[in-house]
Subunit: 427 residues, 2 copies
């Protein structure tokens, strides 16, 4: 009965930091989707005694161990023999696999090098996991240590080979053997403009520990709230929906999306739905607002243009900001961004325009306009709002936060929410 | 004496596959650079008994345990308590940290929420690792279990806070306690426009295995070449300089920087040195070129403006692209980007201008202009170059690669190198 899993990532390239272990992330996500509880990810290099320690430890912790890497043709590929030794099985050659490998080499007009035969050896009794894309099939083998049995799943480390093997062979097997009729239902709320601690306070007491697991994740500039409910199919989802409804009531103003959706996606969807076109005038964000908007496929339908006016001359020439305004209030002022936003609309005929101007730092701050001073404006039919913020952090953070506020303002305008009251920050 | 390490990554966001654990990769690389043997990376979710198991296991395996995550202000942040319990120390409030947190909140005109006080609690006797950028300082504490002592280093999970803490406080401490008199000298060459295999061939045979460890890292769009020499202080650095000299001769054309320097930094430095001003005209890159240029402090000195003309009307109105050109060749054509670049210069009076136009995808491709078709142009006194590229990959990759080519063209213009012959791609 498969409930608890451990992922085993092997390879010196991971333990020396040469590659980021994206396999573990892919496997973890697949396991979570299928209601398998991932106890741990254990990574070790290609060192025999460490591999053996890792396998023993993993078996002791779980019902299923999924390993990636270490089944190539070279001498430092030790996974198969390590597993066979732990299981007390001898290695047998699988002739069908030999044929498979020979065929793969034939397609590139090469003969199979002798050392590839190693990839056709499997512990006696192992069930082979086919690898149509590569020379290293995987296998599944139940192993019992100290009276505890775990299923060992051995997969190659090459992501493009490993992923389809997981999807097509391993996951179906896991589903058929979960022997549990409970499932996990997960909901993620993406929020902006509320601090992690304030978010924590906002939902405090809403959900009892025995109802769901609640966790927070600050991935600047947004903070996500995650609710995980375990229960019978149907009832878990119903319970989750009930809890989600409670949470929505408390954070509706700050929650811009549920699920893995970005602010720019939300903005794009809203602009499309409401048939709005967008113009952008940027100073301190330097093109970031436009970059984020255009990361969304189809953004050419609503984005007309983005004028990054870094110099005062450009602000006057392109956006028609008045010399008097720049003279009297400076480029970093609510007056200036309001003129930038209205100028961008005039220039493009867009239905809504946002503008940013500020001191991104690290230099350029003054006593009355310190680094982090950012002014945002939004202009639309009958709407001209602006606000001055004091942001904190390095140049890239100020740019990112300012761009997030600008996008959030577009969202709020499209939804008819109060615009300039958004966003209290914390890092 | 610090020789063996274990990295502990904690957080449900990792064990449920919501985020890729890049912290472990960063820490693994730093440890390798400093000759520390990484025994294992252990990852567990925010579950008390699993955290405790992970810490006990890590201590048993190593001389130093470096953990990230679990020291936030919320209820699911359990690392500090877990460590204190294992060490048999009580938690004491550090008043300096309380002041630090209060100051951080004060700069954003907010009072510190009560639950942030939690981040000022440390096990008795712990040495605090300062976190200038965030509210969660880390700490170091030696712990003895079953007669074996390990140094526990607790760091936050936010990469931009964790990395400087590692570089500025933890690494120096490790160097001072390695109990080995050899040092590691490292040089990184940043290259663009040459494939990993071509780079490999270019330097093949230049360095013998016993002279240094050579490694490549493709972090799209650039590929870096890393040389690591171990030896006595002084001689290691001299040896490295000698090897670096050999390498330079082979890759000068493609190497835009040595060390952790970005293409936009190099471009900014060159524009400043040569007293050049820059204008940008973007279509498919949507503001990314401007965003990258303005990521560099002081870029306002050379960047006049960036016109992101997503619609044909804007290309005509702002940049003076002729209707005939759009009619005859389309917006994605060398003719169009050449007019965009010269228009941007006219509009701004900049000494050099670059332009981008292409099909970023996933939609919008045609048989003669498939997704990934990108045209780049550069215009300066007596210079008007353009080239059509066929790029591969997702929308964000095409945007990033196109922006990199545009920046590389500015670099090549400023250095007097051939411009449009740059960049052969491989993914």
């Amino acid at each position: 009965m498969i409930q608890k899993a451990v992922i085993l990532s092997t390879g010196d390239e991971i333990t020396t930091g040469k590659v980021v272990d994206t396999n573990a992330n892919f496997l973890a996500e697949k396991l979570a989707e299928n209601g398998i509880d991932l106890v741990s990810v254990i990574t070790v290099g290609d060192v025999p005694e460490r591999l053996e320690w890792a396998w023993k430890t993993a078996i002791g912790l779980s019902d299923i161990v999924i390993s990636t890497g270490g089944i190539g043709p070279t001498a430092d590929d030790l996974t198969t023999e390590t597993v066979a030794r732990l299981a007390g099985r001898k290695l047998l050659q699988d002739d069908a696999t030999v044929e498979h490998i020979k065929r793969l080499f034939a397609t590139i007009n090469r003969l199979m090098p002798e050392n590839n035969l190693k990839q056709a050896l499997f512990p006696e009794g192992a069930e082979i996991v086919p690898n149509p894309l590569g020379t290293a099939p995987g296998f599944r083998l139940p192993v019992t240590l100290d009276g505890h049995t775990a299923q060992l799943i051995v997969l190659p480390g090459v992501p493009r080979e490993m992923k389809p093997m997981m999807e097509n062979t391993v996951i179906p097997w896991i589903r058929a053997n979960r022997g549990r009729d409970t499932v996990f239902a997960v909901r993620i709320f993406q929020t902006f403009g509320i601090s992690e601690s304030a978010l924590d306070e906002a939902v405090a007491g809403l959900i009892k520990p025995d109802e769901a697991r609640v966790s927070f994740r600050a991935s600047f500039p947004q903070i996500s709230l995650r609710i995980l409910v375990e229960g019978k199919p149907g009832s878990a989802e119903r319970k989750l929906e009930e809890l989600a409804e409670r949470v929505r009531g408390r954070i509706s103003d700050y929650c811009y999306a549920e699920g893995e959706t970005s602010m720019e996606e939300v903005v794009g969807k809203l602009l499309t739905e409401k048939n709005l076109t967008l113009a952008i005038a940027e100073s301190c964000t330097g093109g970031l607002v436009g970059h984020r908007i255009t990361n969304i496929p189809g953004s050419s339908k609503y984005l007309l243009g983005d004028m990054v006016t870094y110099s005062n001359e450009m602000k006057m020439d392109l956006l028609g900001v008045s010399a008097a305004t720049l003279e009297k209030f400076g480029a970093v002022s609510e007056e200036c961004v309001r003129e930038m936003a209205s100028g961008a609309r005039k220039q493009t005929g867009a239905s809504v325009a946002v503008a940013t101007s500020g001191v991104a730092g690290p230099d350029g701050g003054t006593p009355d306009k310190p680094v982090g001073t950012v002014c945002i404006a939004l202009n639309a039919d009958g709407v001209s709002e602006s606000r001055r913020y004091q942001m904190r952090g390095t140049r890239d953070w100020v740019k990112l936060l300012a761009s997030q506020v600008a996008l959030d303002w577009i969202r709020r305008y499209a939804l008819g929410l109060p615009i300039s009251e958004s966003a209290t920050f914390r890092r």
